[in-house]
């Protein structure tokens, strides 16, 4: 019989079983890594749950007053986050107002203008700046920036006094002493009216968060596609024209993300704020005036003398801060992930 003339037998097509049993070392490996992942999950949930549980003790006893009370006397039953949360947000916003132009300019310089030999060094310097401990920034702010740049001499010459004198009619820049607005053209007003203000704390925090924002912005700028850059140049754009029409739109996600991440850091910053700020519990937007408050500084100030319930109250304040930073961070990562540049970048 010739091979070609044999009748074809239709065999039912049965897919092979492809299941592969993991070897013993493989299943151990999978179990160990999964165990580590679940352990991390458990730890994080325990932290969150514990915070929430203790915080709820305090929040339920304070009721809605927790959001509207400015004082902080948990053992007297009167406590709330109105003052501290306002202060935190104001310090964070001040920091961002100073940090974003710095970060944006530096990121653009490194990504677009710097000679390629310098680039590596500059990136390292900015990263190093992000790694400098916050207590060092605090020292710098308290011993150099405040007494020698911002509030100089007995009269407190400097930016805050200048702002308060000429822009004092804006509530943000008003300065009061003993409940009444001070007349700053009167040269006898002492400089202590301007020290330890939220403005100065915000400026110090700005320097801490600028490198964080800068490295994210630079990352997204440097990924702007070469073809589009060259296209812009070919159409006759100047360098700035190219940046405005290619690099900035491409890096928009990175810019928003970096800003929000910086804001998140600024809101949570403790020690530098605590070193400079003198804590005062009243709801106010007067940035330049001496005294202010922030949630993290409140915790650092009061944890030692707090009773069991007082600790719960501090946790409630901490939880409100955490919720705030969490929202800000999620906005940041969503902005980065949605953007064109974010598809490949991390952070």
């Amino acid at each position: 019989v010739k091979l070609d003339e044999r009748p074809l037998v239709a065999v039912e097509d049965r897919p092979r079983q492809l299941e592969s049993l993991p070897s013993r070392s493989d299943s151990a490996y999978l179990a160990i890594t999964r165990g580590a992942g679940l352990a991390v999950l458990a730890i994080m949930l325990v932290i969150g749950g514990f915070l929430l549980m203790r915080a709820l003790d305090a929040i339920t006893s304070a009721g809605w007053g927790f959001l509207t009370t400015a004082e902080w006397q948990p053992d007297g039953g009167r406590f709330g986050i109105a003052a501290v949360l306002t202060g935190t947000v104001l310090i964070g916003l001040t920091a961002i107002v100073f940090a974003v132009p710095l970060a944006l300019g530096t990121a653009l310089y490194i990504a677009e203008y710097a000679p390629s030999r310098l680039k590596r060094l500059l990136i390292n310097m900015v990263d190093l700046m992000a790694a400098v401990p916050s207590v060092v920034y605090g020292l710098w702010g308290f011993f150099l920036l405040q007494p020698q740049v911002l509030v100089v001499g007995p009269q407190g010459e400097g930016l805050p006094r200048w702002l308060a004198t000429y822009l004092g009619w804006i509530p943000l820049f008003e300065v009061r002493q003993g409940g009444t607005s001070v007349d700053l053209r009167d040269p006898t007003v002492s400089g202590t009216a301007f020290t330890s203000s939220m403005f100065i704390a915000g400026m110090i925090v700005a320097l801490m968060v600028a490198p964080v924002a800068c490295s994210i912005m630079r990352e997204s700028f440097s990924q702007a596609p070469l073809g589009e850059r060259e296209g812009a140049y070919a159409l006759g754009a100047t360098k700035w024209g190219m940046i405005r029409s290619v690099v900035l739109p491409f890096g928009r996600g990175g810019m928003i993300g970096g800003t929000m991440l910086g804001l998140g850091r600024a809101l949570g910053e403790t020690i530098a704020v605590y070193m400079v700020l003198s804590i005062a519990f009243d709801v106010k937007v007067r940035l330049l005036e001496s005294g202010g408050s922030s949630v993290s500084a409140l915790i650092a100030l009061r944890f030692g003398e707090a009773s069991d319930f007082g600790t719960s109250a501090l946790m409630a304040a901490g939880l409100s801060l955490f919720v705030l930073t969490l929202c800000v961070n999620f906005v940041a990562s969503a902005a980065i992930a949605r953007s064109r540049s974010g598809a490949v970048s991390d952070a």
Binding site: L102, V132, L139, V152, T238
Partner: protein, 402 residues
């Protein structure tokens, strides 16, 4: 008929000589203008005011002088470039000032050797700087960070491997939670440990501040950072490498150990080192959990233990100049530690996955030369066997074609 024009080279440089003149001229004009405004017309006597006036005067002068020769877009281009340059210079200047200021003020304490060889138990605020030092704080920092690393690094890297390997719903949830936890302010990590371990009737506790409590607080803060950074590094390992290993029959464990880990080693080291630098510099969790000590404490389980940032913070709150000098000294030592870690991270890391150092490349070359020698051995053995017992010729095909 063609006219012979003398050949003129076009200037292709982006910076023309007249740009330099415009720049220098504007600088001079702005300096004089700022001097005039600040010193003569207005009583703005601060450095900052002078700098701001100078900057804006410079921008205006430069814009005007460029606009004599260039069109609008070019003027805007120049101005944007100037603004970017000055913002970057401001930021880098700030970094240099922060670091230099710390070292300058810390120098008076660091100049004495005893600052690095003694503790502060004998030296009060009134003793001169020739007595006492911060060795106890260095010791405390090292103990705390070691325990924190032992707690975070294995767990963090294993969890990151899990996140990068597994594609299940659970791993996505873990990733979201870890991402959320990176937003946890460090002071809250400290407060959590303070309430859970140190105080409170319902807590499991030793009832006292200790180095271990501080290490746990630092770990809580560092763990999400390490996981996040390691996860990013592990995801950079090219999928083709893993697939090649799988195609050669490697098991998942072998792939992780022989392909993923070596490829991402430098990135993982960088992640750990940068996490360490963050942990070393944190003050607030330590402030809440470690207490303050002036002497050596080798025992992390009992008694207060101080770290460098906490010593800096506590010492500089004193009104005594010697204590403040000591605080700056401690800050300078801390900065040196952070710098050391940072340089280490850049030396080890900073290479993409799979890029080898010269030493590693040489070792890989030696390894493959050895393999080649081994294969040669196989081949000569096989040809030996072939000549001794040649295989029978293939059977005839019986007219069938293959």
């Amino acid at each position: 008929m063609t006219v012979e024009l003398p050949e003129q080279r076009r200037a292709l440089r982006s910076v023309q000589p007249e740009d330099r003149f415009a720049l220098l001229g504007s600088l001079a004009a702005a300096a004089s203008l700022a001097f005039l405004i600040c010193r003569v017309l207005l009583p703005v006597d601060a450095v900052l005011g002078f700098a701001v006036v100078f900057f804006f005067a410079f921008i205006c002068c430069y814009a005007v002088s460029v606009s004599f020769t260039q069109s609008g877009p070019h003027v805007r281009d120049r101005l944007a470039s100037i603004v970017a340059h000055s913002l970057a210079a401001t930021m880098l200047l700030a970094l240099v000032v922060v670091v230099a200021f710390t070292f300058k003020r810390g120098a008076s304490a660091l100049r004495h050797w005893n600052f690095l060889t003694q503790d502060l138990s004998e030296a009060g605020p009134l003793q001169p700087l020739t007595e006492g030092g911060v060795l106890h704080a260095v010791l405390g920092t090292l103990i705390m960070i070691t325990i924190a690393l032992v707690l975070t690094v294995p767990l963090g890297i294993l969890a990151a491997v899990y996140l990068s390997e597994s594609r299940s719903k659970v791993s996505r949830f873990v990733r979201t939670i870890v991402e959320a936890m990176t937003a946890l302010p460090s002071v809250i990590a400290g407060l959590f440990v303070y309430a859970l371990i140190i105080t409170g009737q319902r807590s499991l506790g030793f009832g006292q501040k200790s180095g271990l409590a501080a290490s746990v607080a630092l770990s809580v803060m560092m763990l999400p950072i390490v996981i996040r950074a390691a996860d990013v590094v592990l995801r950079l390992v090219p999928g083709t490498l893993k697939e090649a290993a799988a195609a050669l029959g490697a098991s998942r464990w072998r792939i992780a150990w022989h392909v993923v880990m070596p490829t991402s080693r430098s990135g993982l080291m960088t992640a750990v080192i940068l996490g360490t630098a963050r942990g070393i510099g944190e003050t607030s969790p330590v402030l809440l959990t470690a207490g303050y000590a002036t002497g050596y404490n080798w025992d992390p389980f009992a008694g207060p233990m101080v770290s460098l940032p906490l010593a800096t913070f506590s010492l500089t709150r004193s009104p005594e100049p010697t204590q403040i000098a000591r605080g700056f000294g401690a800050a300078a030592v801390l900065m040196l530690l952070v710098l050391l870690l940072f340089v280490l991270a850049r030396v080890i890391g900073g290479r993409g996955p799979g890029e080898l150092t010269a030493h590693q490349r040489r070792r890989a070359g030696l390894r493959s030369a050895r393999d080649l020698g081994r294969f040669d051995g196989y081949e000569s053995a096989a040809s030996h066997a072939w000549s001794a017992h040649p295989l029978p010729p293939p059977p005839p095909l019986n007219g069938r074609s293959l």
